[in-house]
Symmetry: C2
Subunit: 514 residues, 2 copies
């Protein structure tokens, strides 16, 4: 029997939602702000987001997309003109109605009635309509196309029930918006962005994802096609980790994004939009976290190696600190995963053992401890966060390594950790997707009896539309299920629709979801 | 007489405000958004801001400050508790009062009366109060200090008269917020941030600045001390380019930021805050722009070298493009100013001459043109944006250089341009500060008769307070003047106060300002 005493007091298997909150709190990633639906992203959580941003931004720029910035406030009229779009968003937006406060005469402040806006402004829930206005100004001729823009920004969608990183009223994201001459080119961009998201998720965040098209009922309001990447969390639920939309010409028509083609004829642009958000951080937690806290994949870890000097308020402390500084300097010269190694020598006050467990809970990929004995032997004690425990003796799996050897091998070690986190998640994901179900009763049985965290099923369907699709959605909803997507790389259908019995046209993933 | 035909149709000397707008428009940096007081920052303008961000963020992190993110919405109660602070901001804030829109029955949308917030929320004009709440939660003991945070964010201050980059309702900025055990340590941080801003402005943006303390009447609402860096624009006006505040214990007291000291006693923290914004981009334009558009200092140029193939729709075009690609690759391998060179091969459609002038107006530091003849001679035609004209013949000052030599020298060339922009601005600034005035009449005469763009004066004063200071402020205001700051590195006073005739205690800079 394992003698391991885990660093968290709640285990994934016991209460996943409580465990999720415990990881966030004990890794010092974020907290409730006291402001309705908004969180504070603390330095460690924000540092992970900054790393994701940096790596994704490099990919965005490499694709020839340019960053820009558009106003946070959107006039009501922009929403009024796009009926489908506003139906999807109108219910959950923050509305600015005044531009001044005045004293209420009782020590408080109230909106100044004299400063009421003629037209209320909406805090952007997404920027299609305001960027559409700009595109209409900027696009005149086919020579101005493609126009490919991206914005890193905060957006607000009023939420009644919030969960940190996954669903908050304000969140941080990037939104790409592009305009093209043809449907083909816009679809190509839709897929380029989707593939970029897959690569980011899998290569940078070590999140295995399935890329595919959303069914009609799950489309972005106003879109012709919506594609997503879907990741499986450790409780078997799906997390939509990024979406890419082909918007056809409907947004162009509403905003007047027209170009003159080579023959001099006015044409509507075909547009796309695509986005990912701080929700990705939630996906990292629920994929890589364990009963000792977070495990951050090295590529997105703010610090990849943390050095902890074991000080005892004794004269030899100074020599240990000098030794640690030497180790730090030799590591800072190394590269890992194509970048300079990010190493921290943590000299903050506190006991070394308490600090070790803080960094374990934060999920730094490699923790290096240095005490007087290590120093004398020219060694360091290395702890891999992804292989924390010696399961035989139930103790942390410390590897005592000559410092020179460690410095030479650290790049390789971090690559190994990055790969191993991905492999572990992919194996779990693949083991938890059930294929080959032909009857609805099998689906309900799977979710009723498939254990606490059942996973996903892949089934075949006839892609019904209209009322028939509504019926399917209701049937799924009764089991708290949703269609995640039609996997892009899925096999062709060869059976009958599990809902209607008609000949199937494609395979879909069905799951509970965040 | 010069035959030069400048790229802009308005000159700095004729109408500075109109020239400023012309630079922004013709360099494609930003435009009015159609949303009250908000601008759209276009890719070239945003790219410059991204470079400023990246370089400043490196400095911020190197100082041990951690980035985090706080809610955009601030409850009214936060403002109510800090009387001085709210007096300074209450007049210009965007107020969210509803969280949903509904159809008005006539095709429009209105705020849903059912969704009125119990307590209105303010869109942050600055985050002292909300970050103060977090600090109060995070700081318990002296071991938690110093706590040094920074946020990159958008903020909103409702403005009636706006000017792109300089004064807009929404703008982008960074705000540092730190808490310390002692006054000394907080003052040290106030000065560290000020010095960081000076270094950023001078080394990265090539903006010569004067660092100094603001007079009492110009302090940040609620601050004990406010320090600034001031830059002189080409119209002789001052631009406050960054501020650093020592807040004493007043924000700590309002938010309850207390720590237990080593003896177990509860103490109030001493806090600071410091900020710079997209206004810096306005400073770059008004310092380095000329009658041909913008000139971007190489360190903050999104592209430092732009290669323009001179194509003629002829068979040799292909060879020219291949040659250009080789030049691009050889440049991309080079370093300049401590970073990889940023080089763009601009293959967009359009005539080479039109594209040249576009890049001149955008201010790319070096433009490289390549036509068939250059290719045959193994050369490139190099145009330095900071030495655009051959004043003898009034033509662009093209230097035909062997491509290998150019690649070898490009790093050095960019360093030269960076330095030369700074030197030019510093010489102009120094030549336009008048010292040694002893009479108020001399000051008024200087601003009345000192030419269209008179510059600044340095005078001595007795640092009056209260009503005496109010009188000084009024006296200055009548001439549209303000006190910029008390230069940190200024000489000691040795005369009498130009306002009161009392013995002077320090020297101040007086100027018209943005």
């Amino acid at each position: 029997m394992s003698k391991i005493r885990h660093a968290l007091d709640v285990r994934r298997d016991d209460d996943f939602a409580k465990w999720y909150q415990a990881v966030i709190a004990s890794a010092d990633m974020a907290e409730e702000s006291g402001v309705r639906g908004c969180m504070v992203i603390k330095p460690w959580g924000y540092g992970i987001w900054e790393r994701i941003q940096r790596l994704m931004d490099d990919r965005i720029k490499a694709a020839g997309v340019q960053n820009a910035y558009f106003p946070i406030f959107i006039p009501l009229a922009n929403f009024e003109r796009e009926a489908d779009h506003v139906d999807g968003f109108a219910k959950e937006m923050a509305v600015v109605t005044h531009h001044r406060l005045i004293a209420d005469g009782a020590g408080g402040l109230v909106p100044d009635p004299e400063a009421k806006l003629e037209e209320p402004l909406v805090v952007r829930p997404t920027s299609e309509t305001i960027i559409g206005d700009a595109m209409a100004r900027w696009v005149q001729s086919w020579r101005d196309l493609p126009l490919m823009l991206n914005q890193w920004a905060n957006v607000v969608r009023w939420e009644m029930r919030t969960r940190m990183f996954l669903r908050t009223s304000e969140f941080l994201w990037q939104e790409g918006h592009t305009a093209h001459t043809t449907r083909e080119e816009a679809l190509e961009e839709t897929h380029r962005a989707l593939e970029m998201y897959r690569a980011c998720a899998e290569e940078d965040l070590a999140l295995p994802v399935i890329a595919g098209e959303k069914p009609e009922n799950e489309r972005f309001p106003g879109a012709d096609e919506t594609w997503s990447i879907e990741a499986m969390m450790q409780d078997g639920k799906a997390l939509q980790a990024g979406t890419s939309h082909y918007l056809g010409t409907s947004f162009s028509e509403a905003a007047g994004i027209r170009y003159q083609d080579a023959e001099g004829t006015q044409q509507l642009c075909h547009t796309t939009s695509w986005g990912t958000s701080t929700r990705l951080v939630g996906g990292v937690i629920m994929t890589h976290g364990d009963d000792d806290g977070l495990r951050v994949p090295p590529r997105i870890a703010p610090h990849q190696v943390v050095i902890l000097p074991m000080l005892r308020d004794k004269p030899e402390d100074e020599a240990v600190l000098i030794y640690c500084e030497e180790v730090r300097a030799s590591l800072a010269d190394q590269s890992a995963l194509g970048e300079k190694l990010r190493v921290l020598l943590d000299k903050s006050p506190g006991k070394a053992s308490a600090k070790r467990w803080d960094w374990v809970r934060k999920g730094a990929p490699v923790i290096v401890e240095v005490g007087p004995r290590d120093m004398e032997g020219g060694k360091v004690a290395v702890l891999r966060r992804d292989r924390l425990w010696n399961t035989e003796n139930g103790k942390p799996n410390m590897q005592f390594t000559p410092r020179g050897e460690f410095a030479r091998r650290v790049g390789e070690l971090l690559e190994e950790i990055q790969q191993s986190l991905f492999d572990e998640a992919r194996e779990r994901r693949d083991a938890n997707i059930l294929h080959g179900l032909n009857e609805w009763a099998e689906v309900t049985r799977f979710f009723a009896e498939g254990g606490k965290y059942p996973g996903w099923v892949e089934v075949q369907w006839a892609r019904p539309t209209g009322a028939a699709l509504d019926a399917v959605v209701e049937q799924l909803k009764a089991e708290k299920l949703t269609i995640r997507n039609v996997p892009r790389d899925g096999e062709a259908a060869d059976g009958t629709c599990i809902f209607t019995g008609d000949p199937a046209v494609e395979r879909i993933l069905v799951a509970r979801a965040y």
